[in-house]
């Protein structure tokens, strides 16, 4: 067969569904070669770093929480830790433990939301969890996911006052710490949740996904004795091991003209991967006993370099978070006082905590009056954006033979592996759209 016409295919998603925020996907291939690839973010710019200037350092947790309705706890935690470093405050072990419990609650609600409502429908050929629930054989599964999510939200509300933009965490601790009885009341539900999370691991591990194993650099916090949440060193699968204070010596964020995209990258090292898959791969030995047992049952190998396996990694973290939450509640001593007194002190400081979607870095400079002079925030999704584009570039050739609708759907699913929160990623950046 001889023909002069080139075969042009276009994978186009105007508005990516089941992600937080507004993004689009456009890939053009000619004769099997990618001529155009764009993960567009059209979420409007939201000038948080500018809003923070001139505000009190004590307001940063409440203001930065508003960057993301799905993971406000992560923003509060990174902001609070950074501020406490600047004012040189060390909290009590009881406050530290309550913060960890509080973070477990957010991981549970956010991971259950993503695994069941946002990601699983892709593996099952459904448009949404609501469509899944319309199938009698899948309805109990959706109900299990909703119940797990609800338990996470209940724990979050007990500690934080409400699920979205909680009100108790502050620089120095918590405005109010829950009574032991309030937390104990949730223990049975958490035990149910732990069992449900173990079932979730088995279920997600049984899903079918494409073979796709890029050469990633996974980056996550690592702590000598704990699965990383609030503290740790920054480590990577390619041997990086640095204190958080050196983060900006090894990573950079660029506002690039040729792609009009916000790209975080390793200085001199290209894209990297943050989030549950990175955390699990780099902290396997720190997963809770039940999570390690659940992992062994799956027959899957970890560290795992297939991004589609992130749904299993997220499920393993559900097991861990439920199990650790139960332990923390059993050992809970209400911190007294719940909130240590703080005084402002001029200085500069940065901190990373592990948001559900990966490392969240905040750095602030404050004056002796306690007013913020400068703020820098790196959201997990902005750190993953370059990696998502690299993934698409590598993945598209292997789906080109599929019908367009299926190829498009698999590309969407590839993006959803990262649980992207585009609202977070555009807390300060707007990508302009290049027109051809």
């Amino acid at each position: 067969m001889t023909t002069q016409t080139t075969t042009r295919r276009e994978i186009k998603v105007d508005y990516l569904a089941r992600v937080e925020g507004e993004g689009a996907l456009n890939i053009v291939t000619e004769d099997g070669a990618i001529t155009h690839l764009e993960l567009r973010i059209f979420e409007p710019p939201r000038f948080f770093e500018a809003f923070l200037r001139g505000r009190s350092y004590l307001e940063a947790p409440d203001i930065t929480a508003r960057i993301c309705g799905i993971c406000p706890v992560a923003y509060q935690m990174s902001a609070i830790h950074a501020m406490e470093k600047i004012v040189r405050l060390t909290v009590s072990p009881e406050i530290r433990a309550l913060r960890r419990l509080y973070y477990c609650a957010e991981w549970i609600q956010s991971h259950a939301l993503h695994v069941y409502l946002l990601h699983a429908p892709d593996f099952l050929g459904c448009d949404s969890a609501i469509a899944m629930a319309a199938k009698p054989e899948l309805r109990p599964t959706v109900e299990r996911g909703l119940r797990m999510k609800q338990i996470g939200n209940q724990l979050l509300a007990i500690i934080g006052g409400r699920e979205v933009h909680p009100i108790t965490p502050c620089v120095g601790g918590f405005y109010r710490a829950p009574a032991r009885s309030e937390l104990r009341a949730l223990r049975d539900a958490l035990q149910w949740g732990l069992d449900a999370a173990v079932e979730t691991v088995a279920w997600t591990a049984s899903l079918v996904w494409p073979d796709f194993v890029p050469d990633y650099e996974f980056v996550a916090l690592s702590h000598p004795t704990e699965y990383p949440m609030n503290e740790g060193r920054v480590v990577s699968s390619k041997g990086l091991d640095i204190p958080v204070e050196q983060f900006e010596r090894y990573f950079e964020e660029e506002h690039l003209a040729h792609t009009n995209a916000l790209h975080a990258q390793r200085i001199g090292g290209g894209s990297y991967f943050v989030g549950p898959l990175a955390r699990v791969n780099l902290n396997l030995d720190k997963l809770s006993p039940a999570a390690q047992a659940a992992l062994r049952q799956t027959g899957l190998t970890f560290p795992n370099y297939n991004p589609f396996a992130s749904i299993v990694a997220r499920s393993l973290e559900l097991v861990h978070a439920f199990e650790e939450a139960i332990q923390l509640i059993d050992a809970y001593e209400p911190p007294r006082p719940s909130r240590l007194p703080v005084q402002p002190r001029a200085g500069d400081g940065g901190h990373i905590t592990e948001a559900p979607r990966g490392m969240l870095y905040h750095r602030y400079r404050i004056g002796s009056d306690g007013l913020i002079q400068n703020a820098h925030i790196w959201a997990p999704t902005s750190q993953n954006l370059k990696r998502m584009e690299d993934d698409l570039r590598a993945f598209v050739p292997q789906v080109l033979a599929l019908p367009l609708e299926k190829a498009t759907w698999q590309c969407e699913q590839l993006i959803r592996n990262y649980d992207p929160c585009i609202s977070c990623a555009t807390h300060f950046l707007k990508m302009n759209i290049k027109r051809q």
């Binding site: 105007d14 507004e22 409007p44 500018a50 203001i63 406000p72 469509a131 109010r176 009009n260 990508m431």
Partner: protein
């Protein structure tokens, strides 16, 4: 419609329209997604709701989108770009009953903090390449752009209020939510007044109820998530805070957060700031 910054055509269906149950749509403008999350956070009610209405357009939850018109549209977020200003018009045309949900949609939200600054300064200060930025100088509520049939306040909204409003509409009743102040909720909860007893500045007396008065119950002052009540006495509260020893700049910041651009909060903050400036000049 081709939007200037390459956003999607506003309500672009990928499925043909079909009539039956009332059709619910959810639209997002500049926001954190936290208010539309209220639907997914209604874990006990979500599947029941999905049985009562056709969830026709809810991109955060489903890749299937149905063509308008819609019986009820929930609109989250503030209007901050030329594309959004255009898209809200199309949303209005397609919506029989339009509900603005959350502080961003009802008052401009935290995004409206830009309204006190020169947006070009912000862009210059924050972006490496200001030329890429396409944004409006102000962030404004939905009602500045189109007729809004109902406003649900809050940063974030209360999911039970949202369910109550949707339920009212489903049975053909006009929805309503309480418009009294947070103080009423405190009294109902039996919370001792934190301002009177502990001298903590609290916006409860001037803030609309809806949250359940959680902040005073959790030992901090209200910071105004639900915006001003109908006739708030801002001056009296400001004077009280001053008498308690709060600095004027501190009070301005308290008025100017997530509902800072709502009329009463905005005017009170501006007035106090002006007074402070004049007194500094006199002193200086």
């Amino acid at each position: 419609m081709n939007s200037p910054n390459g956003g999607p055509a506003p309500i672009k269906p990928n499925q043909p329209a079909q009539a039956a149950k009332p059709r619910l749509a959810v639209f997002k403008f500049a926001s954190c997604d936290g208010c539309q999350l209220a639907l997914l956070d209604a874990e006990d009610e979500l599947l029941a709701l999905a049985g009562q209405v056709e969830i026709a357009y809810f991109v955060e939850a489903s890749r299937r989108t149905l063509a308008g018109p819609y019986d009820v549209s929930l609109v989250e977020g503030a209007i901050t770009t030329p594309e959004e200003a255009e898209r809200i018009q199309e949303v209005r045309r397609q919506s029989r009953y339009l509900i603005a949900i959350g502080a961003c949609a009802t008052a401009g939200g935290i995004q409206a903090l830009r309204n006190w600054h020169d947006i070009d300064d912000f862009i210059q200060a924050v972006y490496a390449h200001p030329a890429y930025i396409d944004t409006l100088a102000t962030a404004t509520p939905i009602s500045d752009h189109v007729q809004v049939d109902f406003e649900l306040r809050g940063c974030p909204i209360n999911k039970y209020q949202l369910l109550a409003v949707l339920t009212a509409l489903l049975v053909g009743r006009q929805p309503s939510v309480p418009t009294y102040s947070v103080c009423v909720e405190c009294k109902r909860r039996g919370t001792t007044c934190i301002t009177v007893a502990q001298g903590v500045p609290c916006l409860g007396p001037v803030t609309q109820a809806g949250c359940g008065a959680i902040c005073p119950a959790y030992r901090r002052g209200c910071y105004g998530c639900y915006g001003p009540t109908e006739a708030p006495n801002m001056d009296a509260l400001g004077q009280r805070f001053l008498a308690m020893g709060a600095a004027p700049a501190e009070i301005v910041r308290l008025f100017r957060t997530f509902n800072g651009y709502a009329d009463a909060f905005r005017l009170a903050g501006d007035k106090l700031e002006e007074m402070d400036r004049t007194s500094v000049q006199r002193r200086g």
